[in-house]
């Protein structure tokens, strides 16, 4: 990837912002189990972080995907995976379908304030009985005149307690399977909507994850994003953005963890020398540095493919390969960081403890490793071509 001076400037602006506005507060937000999304997103909005590739007519930046890569790599350096995840939900998980397929009115009403950081968005796909198998979801929207009447439950929804609107995936016909679903913008002040509970999690503790309940929630049919009945397909496209940003953040996060570990082993002494003087430690670190470097450059290749307008199957395959590799590698890096810190690494006061917990998610969220393998096998024609 060829970065220009503008990429460097944007990178350094976000890095400063993360260091000044996010990292000093991470301990508090982790302890609170939530971070002030409206406050923080307003600051991110001013810098142009929340609508990098979206239409300038709605307040977006009109930039190409290479700037999303830069943003992901810098947000990935947050000292709390929860905050990074929450930001990426706003930028690349809850909004891409609206930006791509939404009507002018819908974009004015919901996308513009999301890009300005005035509204917090969430993506509501997963349900108690449907996660990996999205086609199995049951939340239903039944048409009544000009309105959808929505009933169902959504689970593990990031930004769930703070969101002003949701990008909801629901069944809008009885066709079953992947057919007959629609994406609908649901404002969270709609009657019948409620947050059933805020969930207690292993990691990503600064991010509020919630179970959401819909009981006869009425929203205008005009809130449908794109075409009714095309929700599943639109969501599959939106998942690519989700996976790409997760990969960009993950690679940068791993590199940061390695740099912090290197700094530690250089000063910690045992057996008459520093830990870094032990050849085992040198080689183990060199080994993972090599792997992180490979995924970093794979990510850059993904971003280049997107910028060059690669077809959706190519992007889907690259995003899935990247996510599989980042997810697995992140677990290895977190284990190594913990191991080389020894006892202090196991202490809650050391960054390694949080990282150890946070690093586990990427192999599960946004499509588990096995789902990535399934997609790769399909796109490679091993298990039957989905095209």
């Amino acid at each position: 990837m060829k970065f220009t001076d503008e990429h460097d400037q944007f990178r350094s602006a976000i890095r400063d912002l993360v260091e000044r506005e996010i990292n000093p507060h991470c301990d508090t937000w982790e302890a609170d189990g939530i971070f002030p999304a409206h406050d923080l997103f307003a600051k991110l909005g001013q810098v142009g972080v929340l609508g990098i590739e979206y239409d300038q007519a709605y307040g977006g930046q009109g930039a190409d995907h290479s700037f999303t890569l830069v943003m992901g790599e810098e947000i990935g350096r947050c000292h709390s995976g929860g905050v990074a995840m929450a930001i990426s939900v706003q930028t690349d998980m809850a909004t891409p379908a609206l930006a791509r397929f939404g009507s002018h009115e819908l974009k004015q009403r919901y996308l513009a304030p999301a890009m300005a950081g005035e509204m917090v968005a969430a993506i509501a796909v997963t349900e108690p009985d449907a996660g990996s198998d999205v086609a199995g979801l049951r939340t239903k929207a039944v048409r009544d005149g000009d309105e959808w009447v929505i009933n169902g439950t959504k689970l593990y929804i990031t930004n769930g307690t703070q969101a002003d609107w949701l990008c909801l995936l629901a069944r809008t016909s009885d066709e079953g399977g992947a057919r007959g679903m629609s994406q609908i913008v649901v404002p969270t002040d709609a009657e019948g909507f409620s947050v059933s509970r805020k969930l207690d999690k292993l990691g990503q503790r600064s991010s509020d994850t919630a179970e959401l309940s819909f009981v006869d929630v009425r929203v205008p049919v005009d809130n449908t994003i794109g075409e009714a009945g095309r929700g599943f397909q639109q969501q599959m496209a939106q998942f690519q953005n989700e996976r790409l940003i997760a990969n960009y953040m993950s690679a940068a996060n791993m590199r940061l963890a390695l740099d912090r570990t290197i700094a530690y082993v250089k000063q910690r002494r045992a057996f008459g020398k520093t830990l870094a003087d032990q050849q085992w430690i040198q080689y183990k670190l060199a080994e993972v540095i090599a792997e992180v470097d490979v995924v970093t450059h794979y990510n850059h290749a993904c971003a280049e493919a997107v910028v060059a307008g690669a077809d959706p199957f190519t992007v889907a395959k690259m995003a899935s390969i990247g996510k599989l590799k980042c997810g697995r590698l992140n677990r290895e890096v977190a284990d190594l960081a913990m191991q080389f810190h020894g006892g202090i690494g196991y202490m809650e006061e050391t960054w390694t403890a949080r990282y150890f917990r946070d690093s586990r998610l990427i192999s599960i969220g946004g499509g588990a490793d096995e789902v990535m393998l399934r997609i790769i096998a399909q796109l490679e024609g091993i298990s039957g071509d989905p095209r």
Partner: protein, 258 residues
Amino acid sequence: MNVVVCVKQIPDPADPGALDPESKTLKRDGKLILDESDSYGVEMALQLAGDSGEVTLVSMAPNGEVSGLRTALAMGAAKAVLVSDDALKGSDALTTAKVLAKAIERAGSYDLILAATESSDGYTGTVPEQIAEVLGLPSVTFAKAVTIDGTTVKVDRQTEAGYDEVTCPLPALVSVTAGVVEPRYPSFKGIMAAKSKPVDQVTVADLGLDAANVGWAGAGQEIIEVAQAEARQAGEVIEDDGEAFNRVVGFLSDLKII
């Protein structure tokens, strides 16, 4: 209200710097960035200039470096004058001040000049006052707040005991401390707009200065020796026997901190 801001472009403090063994000055051949100290002056200038005024940057830096200027332009400054010339190698603080004074004259009409109290790399903390002297302007140092009242500038000037309220006629030069205002982050739109903002790059000759009076040739100072600062001594550990606070208070008052 037009404001000129002196902005120094320095080696990235995140990368370990190195001294040139010959000249004993900091190596500046790599990429330079905006000195964080100057981001406060830029922000202050943008706030004082408002929508009706204009902020102009002046900088002296080797190799036509514009990276730090682009950052300040991305924050919202309108244009810049950059002095870059091999003849400036070895310039001491006074020469820097003379060169910047000429650059400021070239920058157009102004009501106020801002600089930082001291730079992050050289930190002699003398350039701003010397610029004021060369231009025959009043200067106010250590500003922790700056407001404009008609044709005067009001400054809260940081002192050891608190601050002085200083009023000074315009035009004037004010050097600001970190924290005078909270600098904004350059936005994506600002970064893109900065690409096409004018940077007037000039040489010593363009400023009407004689190359024989600047750089090594013109330096009135010479760096004779650079020595490692003494390693910090281990602190004194005071065991708390219930009265330890008396010794802490005694220690701090010996240092005249309290």
